[in-house]
Subunit: 144 residues, 4 copies
């Protein structure tokens, strides 16, 4: 890591999690992608989870694990996906329990502090990541 | 049980779960009770979870376990709480993994079929049950 | 609960945890009680653990579980011990995974906010609680 | 291994673990690296754990797993990291539960006998290993 990771901040509120969820869910519904979307707080505890209709059951713990990984290690899960894909030394990450090296988990950062994370699962990992990003972008929007 | 349990039906939709959640959450917010509210489908899989601000962390798995218990055994969790409280033979229920004998879990039944369950945790069990009932009542309401 | 539980606050710092640990450890050493002493933060994550010489191995997860229970449910674990001991309805608590109903776990509260918890195991539960209380009292002392 | 592994000896004492911890912690604080430092005894049981402020939560079990791996298999965890990085046959190590192939775990050996291990996590693995080595070097120092 070339720059220091974000500091842990206060846990995300339900209102803020709702804003992130609405943004992520709107994008998933627009694309008709059956996703599971999970949001955890800065302590890694689940604050909000929505399973869209016809999303696969197996994605429920996967979405949570992506969000937990992003908050536990304070970085997008894509960093771990890339390391594993590069092979060699990167494969050691597969030995860490509770670290899910799959794109689709993003820290939620406000004012430089990590307040939680979003994890999405249900389609290809790159699609999951698109929905997670839509959710993270929702952090910045004002409620109507 | 003198009457047959409800048949398992199709899994609750996100829209219906949302209606149940809004009804339960509105009651919890009206009373300023910091609750965790979980809704599972007819397969016992988590469809929606909201943790209200300042709800205790320990209530996250408890709310889920109440909902899962209600759908696994097709009855309100209070039935098991009563059995345990009666002692004697009822204590054997404590030996069943994945059965949580705590009031606050209710099956969600539509047209005689079980489509899911709601579980609530965060206050005393009788208060949890009040919020769960408010959620179940939301099943009957039409969306505005 | 007749009064509202403490709010979750920022996680306990290593320096503060060290003060709590020193106070608890000094009391255990004075009494020559072979204890395991664990301190978790407001998110339930382990911040500090010391196992005194000749403490039983089995007490390592027990001390942690007491501390985790105290922070997860924001109250001394004795509240749950008492409820179970009273029998009847209280026995339902035995069905909650991750809730340890054993005296010896105490929330650590500063300025009305819960910053973590201490859990002690190694002797009889009442003795464990004595050491936990000594640790909690250390919160108030100034470093020399 | 061309030479026999160290024999298992008596478990590390709290006093010795404290000396190792102080040496590791001093090096981490000097470098301002937010680490989790764990020390286990010759039976693999946790004797001491300190989480420095702002260390990532995910490092708590990782530091423990590194120390446990080093004592379970009586060698530095870097040996397993190298094997995994080499690929081919070395990848089979990823199938062993409870073996973490990440640099940063070192056996603690006194008089040819293994008395415990130290595991460090929080930065890049090579940095973790630097702190672990500082801790191991503390074994040889006399208390002031």
């Amino acid at each position: 890591m070339s720059q220091p990771p974000p500091r842990y901040g206060a846990p995300i509120s339900l209102a803020t999690a709702g804003r992130v969820m609405r943004a992520a869910q709107a994008e998933a519904e627009r694309l008709q992608w059956p996703m599971v979307i999970a949001i955890v707080d800065s302590g890694g505890h689940l604050v909000m989870l929505h399973k869209l209709d016809q999303a696969q059951y197996g994605s429920i713990p996967v979405a949570q694990a992506k969000a937990e990984t992003a908050v536990k290690f304070r970085r997008p899960t894509k960093a771990f996906e890339d390391a594993v894909a590069a092979g060699g030394l990167g494969l050691r990450l597969l030995g860490i329990d509770g670290l899910l090296p799959l794109d689709g988990g993003l820290p939620l950062i406000v004012g430089g502090e990590l307040i939680g994370a979003i994890g999405v699962s249900g389609m290809q990992a790159v699609q999951d990541a698109q929905i997670a990003q839509a959710g993270a972008d929702g952090l910045l929007e004002h409620d109507a």
